[in-house]
Symmetry: C4
Subunit: 289 residues, 4 copies
Amino acid sequence: MPNSVLMERLHLGANELTGWRRSIYTVIFESDTPAGKAFDVGLIVLIVASVFVVMLESVASFRTQYGPWLFRAEWVFTILFTLEYLFRLVAVRHQMRYAKSFFGVVDLLAVIPTYLSVLIPGAQFFLAIRLLRILRVFRVLKLAHYVSEADVLLAALRASRRKILIFVFFVLTLVVVLGSLMYLVEGAGNGFTSIPRSVYWAIVTLTTVGYGDISPRTGLGQALASVVMITGFAIIAVPTGIVTSELNRLARSEESFGQACSHCNGGGHQRDAVYCRLCGESLESSRHA
Amino acid sequence: MPNSVLMERLHLGANELTGWRRSIYTVIFESDTPAGKAFDVGLIVLIVASVFVVMLESVASFRTQYGPWLFRAEWVFTILFTLEYLFRLVAVRHQMRYAKSFFGVVDLLAVIPTYLSVLIPGAQFFLAIRLLRILRVFRVLKLAHYVSEADVLLAALRASRRKILIFVFFVLTLVVVLGSLMYLVEGAGNGFTSIPRSVYWAIVTLTTVGYGDISPRTGLGQALASVVMITGFAIIAVPTGIVTSELNRLARSEESFGQACSHCNGGGHQRDAVYCRLCGESLESSRHA
Amino acid sequence: MPNSVLMERLHLGANELTGWRRSIYTVIFESDTPAGKAFDVGLIVLIVASVFVVMLESVASFRTQYGPWLFRAEWVFTILFTLEYLFRLVAVRHQMRYAKSFFGVVDLLAVIPTYLSVLIPGAQFFLAIRLLRILRVFRVLKLAHYVSEADVLLAALRASRRKILIFVFFVLTLVVVLGSLMYLVEGAGNGFTSIPRSVYWAIVTLTTVGYGDISPRTGLGQALASVVMITGFAIIAVPTGIVTSELNRLARSEESFGQACSHCNGGGHQRDAVYCRLCGESLESSRHA
Amino acid sequence: MPNSVLMERLHLGANELTGWRRSIYTVIFESDTPAGKAFDVGLIVLIVASVFVVMLESVASFRTQYGPWLFRAEWVFTILFTLEYLFRLVAVRHQMRYAKSFFGVVDLLAVIPTYLSVLIPGAQFFLAIRLLRILRVFRVLKLAHYVSEADVLLAALRASRRKILIFVFFVLTLVVVLGSLMYLVEGAGNGFTSIPRSVYWAIVTLTTVGYGDISPRTGLGQALASVVMITGFAIIAVPTGIVTSELNRLARSEESFGQACSHCNGGGHQRDAVYCRLCGESLESSRHA
């Protein structure tokens, strides 16, 4: 089972800490103690609440009616996240390593925009950055028992990365060719005003999204569109097949990782096997060897 | 093969019943006798018919034309379901256990709204509750030979629950980030009036639903939308891969559950195993026995 | 490998035929001789051409312009198909068995509507029946080497029939419950005028079709719609998982159907194995035993 | 592992080349040397840039504003691609074999349209041909380490070709039958003006694209459409299952190709095999050798 790289990155010299820094570390970075668990739950609630506030802030009717409340809530969240950031900085042994780690940057990005918005008005752009706070939930999930599950998924995706890349490139080629064909067939009159727009239509159709903002009107165009749709319907099988086959392989190799028998050299034993299934010798001896 | 939990919950002390209660129990709760089968078929017809009546009731043109007929039909269904509920209550040994079980509550919810609608007018809300009657069909299916099939599906879903949860959470993060990006790119003029609305658009697009009520107009917006679509087209592979791999694992383990050892009663041997993997005894003897 | 049931149904006593009926039988019902192959290709061309003529006939602009030509082409097709039907009837031994078989009925339906349209004017309904001619192509494909491939697919679908049925029923329950919830949330003003219409919307959304003819306008409605979409995106994994797992099982069992060794009773041999992979004894002896 | 046919086709007698032609060959056709790698990267940049220029040329607002610049860029690309084509022609031993190979034709098509557009004005048709340049990227990818990945995908698709063909044919039959049914049910008033148009609608719906340009209005039509949608949602499982099962089989056969027998050189042994399945000799000796 592959070790979580994220997990490793977090162990920033915890074993060498002592005293109160060690206590803070345990509460903030671990989730085995009751205090650690309570901290995690509280943090998730805070993060989700702050994301909701940011989203509501972008709704015009909400902003005009509850503007001051949203403003105050935002500052409360920012101050709490700032305190948390400082505590994290204090608790870890290698401050710079934490500050430059992925989650260190995310933690900082969660608080900076609010401070900057005081200096620079016109906060629309900051809204989006503040939404990155949602990434912080993964930090907590990571501590819970979801790491190994995510590891399996990531391992499968990583192993099939190249196949998926080729597939995506093939899809891009397909939509460029099909889109420019549609541009010739339908013409500017029916919404296919340029090749980039026709390629956009081809993507909308091939992925079976189908907005309907551009759609073919001529018979030939509809025939060609039908080919695109059936192609899209059929080739969705390819990424699915790739990921499934990879997950299968991982599951299979995990199931029969089985050690070989030291007596008859037979392999493929299940995990809880005690005796060789082929010659009946004890597997313990090979294990201890 | 996992035992159906639902099945267990139904055996509310049937073996200890005697006389006419036993007969009622057999007809209502079992489906092995001709009377039990006839009851099941009749019940399914009743349930489906009553669901159709409720649905038609919500169609304005039907209500004005056939209102009184629908009213009468509803009362006929309600009285029949009430009788059935009372019979069930009488037939089981532990009344409270049945009344508090999942299907006990569903059975009660199937009849209460009609009685309440006499007291409280304005029945629109009751319509929806009455539609929950459709859940009662599962009660009958459960008795037929569909239990083990559903069990396999549920087992696969249960085993992959965590992976799917992580996937859903990842998708939610993705749509929040992509939605707020679109909000910045397209702006309020093109329908992306707020971040929640942009996130809604991102969900509509990533899941390849594609209503087209909101769609990007600018070139940059369409380029970003294309990325969202191709991402959605590719990551649908993940839940599919998870469930398929789990179903495969279940099928494989079922295939090779093999014979049990006659010595230690241990099971789970592969097909070509010669010696018991737990006690080391030869499996031949059990085979020849 | 399962034998094609359709194939069997066609062998209507061919071996007992003699003389010219035998020759006709070989040409029409088989595809091993050059004449039989030529007949098959000609028939497919005829069928596809006649289907195109029927489709073009339904296009108003075509009908007004080329009406007489379409009319003549239709009669040519009908007369050729009638002759073919009569030859088939003559060639087979058991006329009634053929006439009542699936393809016998399809063959008859391919010609009757044209004759009836002389007696009964207003042929719109007959158009659709004439299109059933397309099913006749399967008759020819069946003779080619596509039978065993289709058999594998059908076997997988048949084996997973129950699981798929349960899934479809679950989806139906889901859309009834979600549709009626949407009816309460959105109300008649936004297009959700009745429960059946809301259920229709739920199906359009859950299957990720997304016409956009009805779409939620309120925030709560859009939130609920998002849940429906993500659910649909995730549960498409279930039928895919079922079919894939079944196809895997079939592929695996075909690979290692292997006979057991008569000496050591070991199984799981590959198809071309000559000696037992566990004890080294010849597998031939077991085969001849 | 199947050898890449494309790869083979490229080795146009390279080993027999000497001197400067050999050097050019190494730079252009191979990617192992620093110069070869630089050439590949440069070529990809050129191809992508030229594709972008062609696409922008089709956008009316761009053409009017930057017309002369696009014109000049196009001529720069064409001259560079022409030089490259000539170098390739010089470097290979068998000129005609290269010129007639797939990539030889693509390389030529990349430059011809620009020269022709001088002679024949009205270049809209040439735009589409010039976009075929995108295919040239595959030439470079082929040299990188993506060949074997693509080979596995292609092998899986080739092995499942027949099953997918049958599936596509089945889908076509389905949409013809369902489309003509819809034509009868909805009628011309609601957009279902002809059978071809109704079949187009059926394809749009079954593949879950769902433009919404044509959608059913009557209750019966919506009910039928619901059946089409759920069918489409369920049968997408079939192509996915086919491809996944094939990829699984390939992965499995790769895993257990096992060691070859030292006696008869036979391969394909399972992992736990003890004796050669073809000649019966012990595999142990080969293992210890």
